[in-house]
């Protein structure tokens, strides 16, 4: 007997997207168009659900291409990939929300999918009524909900408002109640799409605990998230997807590192175009230039990370602070702000250089996010919608402690160590400040 919980064979899913239509410029052309429009629309709407497997037309998008993998029972597996890599489509096909265009999936056991919490919640219904309705939508029987009802309410912490319509709830309470219902499902296979990022910090902790419980009980879990840290925490194996295909399948740490490394480009300067700026202002960070001897963004541990920003303003600015966020595995671990730059003249190119302390970051893959704001009122001037990845390699630069390169973590913090053993009193300090 097989112990495979999920078998996916050559799975493909195609979508039709509407292409831009031709417009006629002349009056007669426009009238003809108007007459033909219904026919044209009919064909377009019909085509939404018609996909020709062998035809490679322009308006067909393959969200999944020939995906195959197997998941053993009890395995907790993460699906990694950029936006649009096909992760969500994969979960949708696996949870039967949409049908595959080709291929086959065999699921052994009862499956529940959580692509969203609180699906089907109705504002006018009370908390109690919504628990039953939502539970049933998630595939629970009435008896099951009856049994777990008290537990669900306890977990959510909304017992006082049980008979109040949920439209009177705060959004936090709604989410808590919704997650509580979902957390009490007992499927053999569970699929989750980033629903962990809900509620306040305390509730999130509770949720993570519950998730680990679920994973620990021999259930098979498929998990999609952008948070590599929580993924590493929960999953043992990962599948890396890109443009609808599985490109790597293996141990979580290896796959996460490869995924992050793929983001490191073999160029050291980044130029930002107009749609990468979040705000419409007269202030523009136009480029970022890493100061690195080689053509790859890999720094040796102990080497200083340094980069230059080019700023162009359409008017004069006083007191601007530039901010750099350091992101590790999807988590912003620190933000470094510049001192206020007293004057930036209009229509001239200003250059700002930033250098991180030499031993700040431990080996790993990080990314930078960039922004700028006015010092006096914190008004946002620029934010760049692009993460710039770089790596601190496990090769130690000359003159630094090679033991550190194996250290686990993000930052190297300075500390003072003292040997207090009699006759052996010694003091080691990393810095003179201590």
């Amino acid at each position: 007997m097989s112990d495979k919980a999920i078998t996916v064979e050559n799975l493909s899913k195609a979508y039709r997207i509407g292409l831009k239509e031709q417009k006629h410029e002349t009056m007669t052309g426009a009238i003809m168009d108007w007459i033909k429009q219904p026919l044209h629309n009919l064909r377009r709407v019909q085509n939404l659900t018609r996909v020709n497997l062998h035809e490679d037309s322009d308006d067909t998008i393959w969200a999944l291409k020939d995906v195959s993998f197997e998941v053993r029972q009890g395995e907790v597996i993460g699906i990694i990939g950029r936006n649009g890599a096909g992760k969500s489509t994969l979960l949708k096909v696996l949870s039967r929300i949409t049908e595959p265009t080709a291929g086959r999936i065999v699921l052994r056991g009862k499956l529940s999918s959580l692509l969203e919490v609180g699906t089907g919640f109705h504002r006018e219904l009370t908390g109690r009524e919504n628990v039953y309705l939502n539970g049933a939508i998630l595939g629970m029987r009435k008896k099951e909900i009856d049994l777990k009802f008290d537990e669900i309410i306890d977990f959510s912490g909304v017992e006082k408002f049980l008979d109040t319509p949920v439209k009177k709830y705060s959004s936090g309470m709604q989410v808590r109640l919704a997650f509580s219902v979902a957390a009490h499902l007992e499927p053999d296979i569970l699929m989750i799409d980033e629903v962990l990022a809900v509620g306040d910090a305390e509730f999130q902790k509770k949720c993570l605990g519950k998730m680990r419980d679920v994973a620990g009980h021999g259930r098979t879990v498929l998990f999609v998230s952008h948070n590599m840290a929580s993924m590493k925490n929960i999953c043992s194996r990962a599948i890396l997807m890109e443009t609808g295909e599985v490109i790597e399948d293996g141990d979580i740490r290896t796959v996460v590192n490869h995924y992050l490394a793929r983001n490191i480009r073999s160029q050291t300067s980044f130029e930002f175009n107009e749609d990468q700026h979040r705000y419409q202002t007269d202030f523009r960070i136009v480029a970022l230039n890493f100061l690195v001897p080689e053509q790859r963004l890999i720094f040796q541990y102990g080497e200083s990370v340094s980069f230059e920003l080019k700023i162009q303003c359409k008017k004069d600015f006083w007191g601007v602070r530039v901010g750099v966020g350091i992101v590790s595995e999807g988590v912003r671990v620190s933000t470094i702000h510049s001192h206020p730059i007293d004057f930036l003249a209009s229509d001239s190119l200003s250059r700002v250089r930033c250098t991180f302390p030499r031993y700040l970051l431990l080996p790993g893959i990080y990314s930078l996010v960039l922004g700028a704001h006015l010092a006096k009122n914190g008004q946002g001037l620029d934010y760049i919608n692009q993460e710039m990845y770089f790596e601190i390699s496990e090769v130690a630069a000359s003159g630094c402690d090679s033991f550190d390169v194996k250290a686990i973590g993000i930052f190297k913090l300075e500390a003072k160590w003292e040997n207090l053993t009699e006759d052996r009193q010694t003091v080691w300090a990393d810095s003179t400040q201590l």
Binding site: M1, S2, D3, Y15, V45, L48, T49, Q73, G74, K92, V93, L94, S95, R96, I97, T98, E99, P100, T101, A102, G103, R104, I105, V106, L107, R108, G109, K110, L111, S113, L115, E116, T119, G120, H122, E124, L125, E129, Y132, L133, A136, I137, L138, G139, M140, R141, K142, P165, D188, H217, G218, R219
Partner: protein
């Protein structure tokens, strides 16, 4: 670690090719959801209203009053010798149920688009729920009928026992059409636009304000293909008892109701796989 249970359900997901009407096993698994969904339909309908379930009575009663004045008094439409208000009300009970269920059922999938694209359950529950929930309003509308019976001194006859059969035909018709229109409506949004006035036209095509007796005999068979014709005329015969049951119309109507229901289920099943993609 959990052992593989030979009884664990095995699910195979692949492109659908069959022409199945119902997946019975799955519907059985989700019967509690159908129950809760019907309950939801009933609860949200009159929540935060002042009159509550009285609305179930206002709709047919108001129509009855207007029809009695316009068609009964002013236009003098024949009513087979039955007082016009009760003549109209007996027909308005099944008609109100049918038209309301059909409109809600048509809209149901589009309204639940966000649910459809987030989770799987048998989609059939969505258009079926308003059809079943409407039965409560329908039952309540009998209250007014009993009052009218008292006012017009109408003695109930044994024909009243045929009512459940007529209800079954009526539900089959509403749900059969509902499956057609909701499945087509989520992909072709024109259906929703069209349904509003189609239902309006169907009302005048049904023997509500006029008796079936004004239709020439040679057209009766064709007319009876429209299931609500037999149902409405059947309601009058069963409730008022002045005429024999129109068995000929009812039997033809029930055959077409069953056809509607089965074809509706098949079409729904065929189109179901695409709902999430077009929602």
């Amino acid at each position: 670690m959990k052992k593989t249970d030979p009884l664990q359900p095995l699910t195979v997901i692949e492109p659908r090719k069959d022409w199945q009407a119902f997946n019975w096993r799955e519907l059985k698994d989700y019967r509690d959801l159908l129950y809760f969904w019907v309950l939801r339909e009933i609860k949200i309908l009159y929540r935060q209203t002042v009159l509550g379930f009285t609305w179930a009575l206002i709709r047919p009663v108001a129509s009855m009053i207007v029809f009695s004045v316009v068609f009964g008094k002013l236009a003098r439409v024949p009513s087979d010798g039955i007082p016009y208000p009760i003549f109209a009300y007996a027909a308005l009970m099944p008609w109100t149920y049918f038209s309301q269920s059909l409109i809600k059922s048509t809209d149901s999938l589009v309204q639940q688009a966000s649910v459809i694209s987030k989770i799987y359950f048998p989609r059939l529950i969505i258009p079926m729920a308003p059809v079943l929930a409407g039965l409560l309003d329908f039952v309540l509308s009998f209250l007014v009928f009993f009052i009218l019976m008292f006012v017009y001194h109408i003695q109930p006859t044994w024909n009243i026992l045929y009512i459940p059969l007529l209800v079954v035909i009526m539900v089959l018709t509403a749900s059969g059409l509902g499956m057609w229109t909701s499945a087509l409506g989520i992909q072709y949004r024109d259906v929703r636009q069209a349904m509003m006035f189609i239902v309006q036209l169907l009302m005048y095509a049904s023997p509500i304000v006029w008796p079936i007796s004004i239709i020439p005999f040679k057209y009766r068979t064709i007319y009876a293909i429209y299931p609500m014709a037999g149902v409405i005329e059947g309601f009058r015969a069963a409730l008022i008892g002045k005429h024999p049951m129109p068995w000929y119309s009812i039997s033809i109507g029930s055959i077409s109701a069953i056809c509607l229901f089965i074809t509706g289920a098949i079409i729904f099943n065929r189109m179901e796989k695409n709902f999430a993609d077009v929602a």
